[in-house]
Amino acid sequence: MVDVADTVTAVARDEDRREFDALVERYHKQAYNIAYRMAGNHADAEDLTQEAFIRAFRFFGQYRRELSFDSWLYKIMSNVFIDRLRRKPKARIRSIDQPVLTDEGQAQFEIPDTAAGPEEEVLSNEMDSRIQEALDTLPEAFRLTVIYADIEGFSYEEIAETTSTNIGTVRSRLHRGRRMLRSKLKKYEDQLL
């Protein structure tokens, strides 16, 4: 009987693999952006995205196609994120304008913004860093909720599903999360407009 199962599985596996590779191509940038906003730095964002895709691949047979893949992936990513924080109490937090060490010495993150001129770009980068730093200070459950609502544009119902909670909790986490952000960003309010 194990053989029957193995045969059935083998047929499904090639099909799944092709489909999954296409999903990686399609969603990896979006997933990386969300992972970056959760983790606050590139190294952890890469780890988080990679681990989420690997876990998703392992359980791909159980993915219900009627659900959107990104919601399912984010559900997994949220779990990976929380798991890692539990194992590593002090998450690395690095500002995006802090230099990173590469093989060729120090380097800055380059984030192109073709819409803005050089001065606007500097100001915009600074503000991005401040907002990211404020996000990093939120308790992780609040941070995830704010990110899913305001970056990904998920409905409360989608956030509840993605973070395995109920809509009331989503509502409360969002409200409290935004109030915490406000207290961190109060002095920059004029520049946020």
């Binding site: 890469e46 359980f59 907002i131 409905s155 973070t163 395995s164």
Partner: protein, 165 residues
């Protein structure tokens, strides 16, 4: 107020709050600051990964070894999902039981599943797998029951119940 900013209230509630905001300065200020925070986060620019990141992930997938019991679980889910023969699904599921039982205990399996996610879909589906009348295969729905591993802010909840009984 956040629910109002996100338009997550009923039409009547939205109207009621809108009317209130028109006459209450304190709440209007609160509304404005919450709206501003939503705007601040949503305006964050998209951060791109390195160019070869998708290929890197795909290459890593080649190294992923899916444990036997997990492959069987996945195939059961696929069969049930595609509404193929319930007999085949039951056979595959009983294969799972054998794999698990031959593993010599539940601890390793529970440990593996503990790191898993997305198991919840199978809970409902296990109930759809029909028994085979007159055969020795007596798969009970609870034999495949896996609690949703997506706990949030608590220890993961993973339970295998009645397996092999």
């Amino acid at each position: 107020m956040s629910a109002y900013v996100d338009a997550e209230l009923t039409g009547a509630e939205m109207l009621e709050i809108r009317r209130h905001l028109a006459g209450c300065r304190e709440c209007a200020n609160e509304h404005e600051s919450i709206r501003l925070m939503k705007h601040a986060v949503s305006r964050l620019r998209t951060v791109a990964p390195r160019e070869d990141f998708a290929h890197f992930i795909i290459a890593r997938l080649d190294e992923v070894r899916i444990p036997g019991y997990q492959r069987v679980l996945n195939s059961v889910a696929v069969l049930v999902h595609k509404k193929l023969s319930p007999v085949a699904a039951a056979l595959a599921a009983s294969g799972l039981a054998l794999v698990v039982l031959s593993a010599g205990g539940m601890d390793d399996v529970a440990q593996e599943v503990n790191s898993a996610v997305a198991g919840s879909s199978l809970v409902a589906r296990a109930g759809e797998i029909n028994m085979i009348p007159g055969s020795n295969i007596s798969l009970r729905p609870q034999a495949l029951e896996i609690a949703d591993t997506m706990s949030y802010g608590r220890e993961p909840v993973v339970q295998w119940t009645s397996l092999g009984r």
